[in-house]
Symmetry: C2
Subunit: 197 residues, 2 copies
DNA sequence: TATCAAACTTGACAGTGTAAAGATGATAAA
DNA sequence: TTTATCATCTTTACACTGTCAAGTTTGATA
């Protein structure tokens, strides 16, 4: 075995199976349902098996966060790919994907954004591994930036969609429960954004 | 004892003491440090005593959320009271108090806003008991509202400051770490707000 | 075939929430 | 003052959790 793809012995690919089980449990019963022992049981292994793949529960949560981030990026990119590529439709599609991911993966989204793991941090390595963050940045790029530069635009858009998504799934905001995307469009229009020359 | 102030028998006021202990534990060791048994120990009672005052751990968390909401409202109102009362300074002060509370009570703020308890809900009774929400609404009132009315303005401001506060304490946003209020001012200026005639 | 390291199991332990039943003590009625 | 009552709190018990240590199995390699 000289290549980099590690072929496990017994289970097949326990590490990935445990992550999948974890996400399932998360969506079925929320954060309190996510336990190492239940993940192990669902993957058909003993309760101590996960210890050989993750550094405790926190390690599994970190791995789940990583998996979640690729799902998250895919959700946003999928919406963006369905547009004509113009600045405003692209920005809105990005936000649409952001919000959709939160609604369709409530517990997972909450777990991810209440985490201070590597990919969720402002660290350079975290950012370079975070394609979701890159999508956000590139969606904001075509617009005029104020005196504080592109970062202020990015943070404004990010804060707005993050806050809206979070408050929505927490039931603290209720405009149109069926289609909150429509409601968010009004909020986005309050932002003073103009396409750069 | 015909008046409404209940005088407890043994402890004095165990219920409030447990809430205080809970908030302490929360700030000292984060959400994982908040356990019924530790709260009980800190209050000097047996581990099963809390059951007579709260419906399990979830009940205690609800009570902590309520206590936290009054602290939260006080933080915002305090900043507002120090202004001249004009619309923009008042709005900014409200946001300043919002952010300050998150920074100074990270674990508590996280607990509160990851909760679907009564006060945090869009229900009428929840809203009427939530002075923090009223402060937000009144801070947004003086401004011109778009075609979607005052609610769109409120949700835009709320989402922006909630998202920014949340991402800040999670270390996912870093403009000026010492004084993030200054950074938020730039974001708030991107919002297209004008004082109504 | 023998070796050996990785993958997994077994057993144990301290914490946790929660329930049931008993003890305590403040209040109110006698 | 004495007694009865009941909310308050304690004790005991149980299932579940994360984590550790030791043993066992497995499959690739020599």
């Amino acid at each position: 075995m000289t290549n980099s793809t590690v072929k496990p012995h017994h289970h097949g690919d326990l590490r990935e199976a445990l992550i999948s089980s974890g996400i399932e449990l998360l969506e079925e019963g929320g954060i309190t349902a996510l336990t190492l022992r239940k993940c192990a049981a669902r993957a058909g292994v003993s309760h101590a098996a996960p210890a050989h793949h993750f550094e405790g529960l926190q390690g599994l949560i970190g791995a789940i966060t990583n998996r979640g981030m690729t799902m998250f990026a895919k959700a946003m990119q999928g919406k963006i790919d369905a547009t004509d590529g113009l600045p405003f439709p692209t920005l809105f599609a990005m936000c649409e994907g952001y919000l959709s991911f939160f609604i369709e993966n409530q517990a997972l989204a909450n777990l991810m954004f209440n985490q201070k793991s590597e990919v969720m941090t402002t660290s350079t390595t975290g950012r370079s591994n975070n394609s979701a963050f890159k999508i956000l940045v590139s969606s904001c790029a075509p617009f005029k930036h104020g005196p504080m530069g592109h970062q202020a635009t990015e943070y404004a858009v990010w804060s707005l969609i993050q806050g809206f998504s979070h408050l929505s799934i927490m039931g603290q905001i209720s405009c149109t429960e069926e289609q909150p995307q429509i409601c968010f469009a009004d909020l986005l229009s309050i932002l003073n954004l103009q396409v750069a020359d």
